[in-house]
């Protein structure tokens, strides 16, 4: 019987509830939408990554190295091929491609392929034989857009290195390396033999040599990869960036490609859900306030506390379910919108699919969060004594429910913790996030207590009545200062922290490419071409110094080999094993600053390239970038041995430099003193400050004609790409911030509305006693101004700190605080608070007090 009463009561009242507070369920809908959409988006991406990875590797396992395979490695691969595993070979290389006359030159990704390439995907070609003709050599193919950009058609020829090849057709459906495509541009395909003949595979050309294995169904690709690694480990050959990768690893790496984005979206969804929860709490509070007389009557009629509590909990769940359903719809829209919105950011393409699991997750979490956050305001329902139906001044016995409050508080904390762990994907991160939020709540509560204590002291009888009345509303019995200030502050905190994080990410993305930045970046200039290139640049009025680049790896630090250091684990492995592109120079690069030690004497700078001999027969002097020095745990006087293409070069650190990596110029970790790397194989890079488009195009044509192996990037094109990518992410960040702001304001509105009933009754009595509308307005304005101003300021301040902490520690980015925007958020919050406060007094001020008193007693 009782059970059915609870349900029927819940169903009857939920209709009213939906009408009264349904709009606030939008807050939970926003949270559920963010969660569902993101979850489905990630599932789509993971599925996409799995299918893309195999195509990208061109098989199930890929061996890749930065230099040509030696006889040992060739033998290993041959033996694998002999065991029945087909192997296709390819070489990928960034290089200039242009029309025959050198016009339309662009840096593109050249891929030399054999007839077996690609294992994993089926290329589509127009005309149909365009791809098959590649195998025979003597032709070149690219996708339609690239051909259009190069302004060539089928049958026209393209210049690649020293070769001129006719275009066989347009091809699509081929794996594209997203990392390279972002910087270099789309791929152009030609036969492996043609690429080798084009004279482009020079020192420092950044070519990638690849062998892709198509592992038969009855063998495990992981076993094959392991076997390969073992065999390669036994070889006595030296490779730069040698890797053996399976399609599964590649899929994981692809997914990592948008980890920062995922992380931010996860954080946004968490915050949106929390906001939704706080919004629900405010809305339920508002709803319960309205229902109290009715609840008291039900109690008089014999309804038990627990019956009423359960019925209202059920109502909350029903309302939450309504919000969650709307949220799932939002989520599906988000899931379908994100891939289009982020087209140039995503490392690979994928299509949205039907994700029932994400929908169920959204619904469950939505209802769960609603119920969890509704518990606190619903405790009020348990405290309504039946006597309240007869006497409006009767207070509920709140003392009895202290244990219930503790219990609910605990449940809420655990719920939030679980949600945080789920969204951040780590127990530690989740706990830190929850701990941070609890701390924020405590600080806000403390500020509220301080405010209540503080204003009591300053309020003397000499303060005008209306102001005194308004201010004292903050600490009088029945005040809502603590609840309102905490909820308001928390809303402000969440809004502004997300705002700070998204604006920090935006700043990071908006790479400053000022108008006078160099327009042409040249690389792969060989030592014997240097004078010619510099002369050519000078002829075009773009005099530019070229910098030598000498690839080298660390061999030992203070006499300890890098492998031993890597095993110790104190120095990050990648800093020990990576290839450093070092230079030598007599002069300190502009933008660099010596932080410790001294730069070498200027006399070395006179002949920086051929260089005077090192200062003595001992180790050569180097200047190291300060951050790298910290990571390598070295300082002034530390001895570092480099492996410069097989030759050991012993160095001593004589200075540490701070490098401004944001300056668009060649920057280096290690600078050697002049003369110290003499004879080492070097290529040269440089920047040409050429802004005039006409001259730039002419220079490009000349460069391609005279030095076909020299590559260059037209930075104005890159600038457009960067702007497009950062524009998309910025829009996404802005969108998420907007969701948070919308959710936050809903929360604030719900909180404020829930507090206005008491104020309305007080206003009505004051009105009856003869208070003017102006006096009432001042009273309400003062109280709500204090609440909004202080709660908003505390929340925004804490939000700025929280956002800065997330930027610094979770994203490891520099912190910038968008002061004016935060002030704007604060201002809007204050205005919102004020307007809700004012509207709460509005009916009293406008209508006759008789009517208001009548309805208040109703």
């Amino acid at each position: 019987m009782r059970g059915s009463f609870e349900v029927s009561l819940a169903l009857r009242e939920a209709r009213t509830g939906a009408r009264r507070i349904g709009v606030f369920m939008l807050a939970i809908a926003l949270g559920v939408g963010a969660l569902t959409g993101l979850h489905a988006f990630q599932a789509d991406a993971a599925a996409g990554a799995r299918s893309e990875a195999r195509a990208l590797l061109g098989g199930d396992v890929r061996v890749q190295a930065g230099n040509a395979f030696g006889p040992g490695l060739e033998a290993v691969i041959d033996s694998i091929e002999a065991s029945g595993i087909p192997v296709s070979r390819s070489i990928s290389l960034g290089s200039m491609v242009s029309a025959v006359d050198g016009s339309g030159a662009r840096l593109l990704q050249l891929i030399g392929v054999d007839p077996l390439y690609p294992h994993g995907s089926e290329p589509r070609a127009t005309p149909e034989d365009a791809w098959d003709r590649l195998g025979g050599g003597g032709v070149i193919a690219a996708d339609r857009t690239t051909l259009q950009q190069l302004e060539v058609e089928v049958g026209d020829s393209l210049r690649v290195g020293t070769l001129v090849l006719p275009v066989s057709g347009a091809v699509s459906g081929l794996p594209i390396d997203p990392g390279i495509q972002t910087i270099v541009g789309p791929p152009v395909f030609l036969a492996l033999s043609d690429l080798e003949a084009a004279g482009l595979l020079t020192e420092g050309s950044l070519a990638q040599y690849r062998a892709s294995l198509l592992v038969p169904e009855n063998q495990n690709p992981l076993d094959v990869a392991r076997h390969l690694q073992e065999r390669i480990g036994e070889l006595d050959e030296d490779y730069a960036r040698l890797s053996v990768r399976t399609a599964q690893e590649e899929a994981e790496a692809l997914a990592e490609g948008f980890q920062a984005l995922s992380r931010f979206l996860g954080l946004s969804a968490f915050i949106a859900l929390l906001l939704g929860g706080v919004g629900v709490a405010g809305a339920i509070q508002l709803y319960v306030e309205e229902r109290l007389p009715g609840i008291a009557v039900l109690r008089c009629l014999g309804a038990r506390q627990s019956t009423i509590f359960r019925s209202y909990l059920l109502q909350a769940a029903l309302l939450g379910a309504g919000g969650a359903v709307v949220g799932v719809v939002f989520g599906v829209l988000l899931q379908w919108g994100l891939p289009a919105l982020l087209a140039s950011v995503l490392p690979f393409r994928f299509d949205p699919g039907f994700r029932p699991l994400s929908m169920v997750l959204g619904l469950t979490v939505g209802i769960g969060v609603t119920v969890l956050f509704a518990l606190f305001p619903l405790l009020r329902v348990r405290e309504v004594p039946p006597l309240a139906a007869l006497r409006i001044d009767v207070e509920g016995a709140s003392g009895r429910s202290r244990s219930a409050r503790l219990l609910v508080g605990g449940a809420l904390a655990v719920g939030v913790l679980l949600l945080a762990i789920f969204q951040t994907g780590g127990i530690l991160e989740g706990a830190a996030l929850t701990g941070g939020l609890v701390l924020v709540l405590l600080v806000l509560r403390g500020i509220a207590a301080l405010l209540m204590w503080g204003v009591r002291g300053v309020l003397t009888d000499s303060v005008p009545f209306a102001i005194r009345q308004g201010v004292s509303g903050l600490f009088r019995p029945g005040n809502q200062t603590a609840v309102m200030l905490t909820a308001l502050g928390f809303g402000a905190f969440l809004i502004s922290s997300l705002f700070v994080v998204s604006s920090g990410l935006r700043d990071w993305l908006s790479v400053e490419l000022s108008e006078d930045a160099p327009a042409l970046f040249l690389f792969d200039v060989q030592s014997d071409q240097r004078d010619g290139v510099e002369a050519l640049l000078a002829r075009f009025g773009a005099p530019s110094d070229l910098f030598p680049v000498v690839p080298a790896r660390l061999e030992s630090i203070e006499g300890v080999g890098v492998e031993a250091l890597a095993l110790e684990g104190e120095i990050p492995g990648w800093t020990l094993r990576r290839v450093y592109r070092n230079t030598w120079s007599g002069e300190l690069q502009s933008g660099d600053r010596i932080t410790e030690g001294e730069w070498w004497d200027a006399d070395h700078g006179e002949d920086r390239d051929q260089g005077a001999a090192p200062s003595s027969a001992g180790p050569v002097r180097i200047s190291l970038e300060a951050d790298l020095a910290r990571q390598l745990r070295v300082g002034l006087g530390s001895r570092v041995v480099w492996d410069v293409q097989g030759r050991s070069v012993e160095s001593v650190i004589t200075s540490l430099r701070e490098v401004d990596w944001t300056r668009f110029q060649p920057n280096f970790f290690a600078v050697f003193e002049p003369g110290s790397l003499e004879g080492a194989p070097a290529s040269w890079i440089g920047l040409a400050p050429l802004v005039e488009e006409e001259a730039r195009v002419a220079l490009q044509q000349e460069l391609v004609r005279e030095f076909p192996n020299v590559s260059f990037l037209d930075l104005s094109a890159i600038r457009e790409t960067v702007l497009r990518v950062s524009g998309q992410v910025t829009r996404l960040l802005g969108g998420m911030a907007l969701v948070a702001v919308a959710g936050g304001f809903l929360v604030v509105a719900a909180t404020l509305l829930s507090g206005r009933f008491r104020r309305r009754r007080e206003s009505a009595i004051l009105r009856t006693l003869g208070s003017s509308g102006g006096t009432l307005r001042v009273i309400l304005a003062v109280e709500y101004l204090a609440l909004g101003g202080l709660g908003g300021a505390a929340g925004v301040g804490l939000g700025a700190l929280g956002g800065a902490a997330v930027l610094r520690f979770a994203f490891e980015l520099p912190v910038t605080v968008p002061l004016w925007s935060l002030l704007g958020i604060w201002g809007v919050l204050v205005l919102l608070t004020l307007s809700v406060g004012w509207t709460s007094g509005g009916p009293v001020i406008r209508s006759t007090p008789r009517a208001v008193l009548g309805s208040a007693e109703g």
């Binding site: 009888d461 000499s462 303060v463 009545f465 019995p477 009856t768 003869g770 208070s771």
Partner: protein, 240 residues
């Protein structure tokens, strides 16, 4: 201050139908007189009181407080008039729950248009004197929730008289109290009224209370008639 009603009518619209509550009421309550309005529930007593106090506007007719026609006045003007000239005692007390007893009594003094700005020492003293006068001198800092029903009504009395109103409206002032407590409140009300020479309008269905007024009007079906029997039985008092 006299109260005058000329042809006052009041309708309510309920569910699309117009329901007449008060019909053609003409009434003159002389200055400093004590008048009781009696009648059964739903006869329109409280509605009439609301109109006389300027808490509501008549559908037709005029209401004058002293020489001021409040029918045409804006709500702002009526609020000013109430602050200056009118006091209230309600059946359900209507104390502000968040203010102490003293602060509740201070409110009309502070809302009074002639209240000296920024100097509330006198106001405070006056509130404390009044609370002392109603026997709550030791409860000045208590909140309504900490007081009994009788004590709350005594605070309400103190509040009603605090700004020395020319007219006091009392709507069932003993309706929520037991007989003994009610009697005490009535006694206090009469004493305070005598001291301040206020025009007192009592709305009640307690005939014993009504009989203490100089004039008794009975409300029947939205009209007002002098109730000679009640007035004679009580002997009448306070006629100015």
């Amino acid at each position: 201050m006299k109260i005058e009603l000329q042809g006052v009518e009041k309708d309510f619209r309920i569910g699309g139908r117009t329901l007449p509550i008060l019909r053609g009421i003409d009434l003159l309550i002389p200055e400093q007189s004590v008048v009781a309005l009696v009648g059964p529930s739903g006869s329109g007593k409280t509605t009439l009181l609301g109109l006389m106090a300027g808490l509501d506007s008549p559908s037709r007719g005029r209401v004058l407080l002293g020489t001021t026609d409040i029918t045409a006045a804006t709500e702002e003007a009526r609020a000013l008039l109430r602050a200056r000239h009118v006091g209230f005692v309600f059946q359900t007390f209507h104390l502000l729950p968040s203010l102490t007893a003293r602060e509740n009594v201070q409110v009309p003094l502070e809302l009074h248009p002639d209240a000296p700005a920024g100097r509330s020492g006198g106001v405070r003293r006056r509130a404390e004197e009044l609370l002392d006068r109603v026997g709550l001198g030791d409860r000045v800092d208590h909140y309504p929730a900490q007081l009994s029903g009788g004590e709350r009504q005594r605070v309400a009395l103190a509040r009603a008289f605090s700004a020395r109103p020319a007219i006091l409206f009392a709507d069932e002032p003993t309706g929520n109290l037991d007989r003994a407590t009610g009697a005490g409140i009535v006694k206090l009300l009469e004493e305070l009224n005598r001291e301040t020479k206020t025009t007192l309008v009592l709305v009640t269905h307690d005939m014993e209370l009504a009989s203490r007024a100089a004039r008794v009007y009975r409300m029947v079906d939205g009209t007002v008639r002098p109730d000679v029997a009640a007035a004679t039985a009580g002997g009448g008092r306070g006629e100015g």
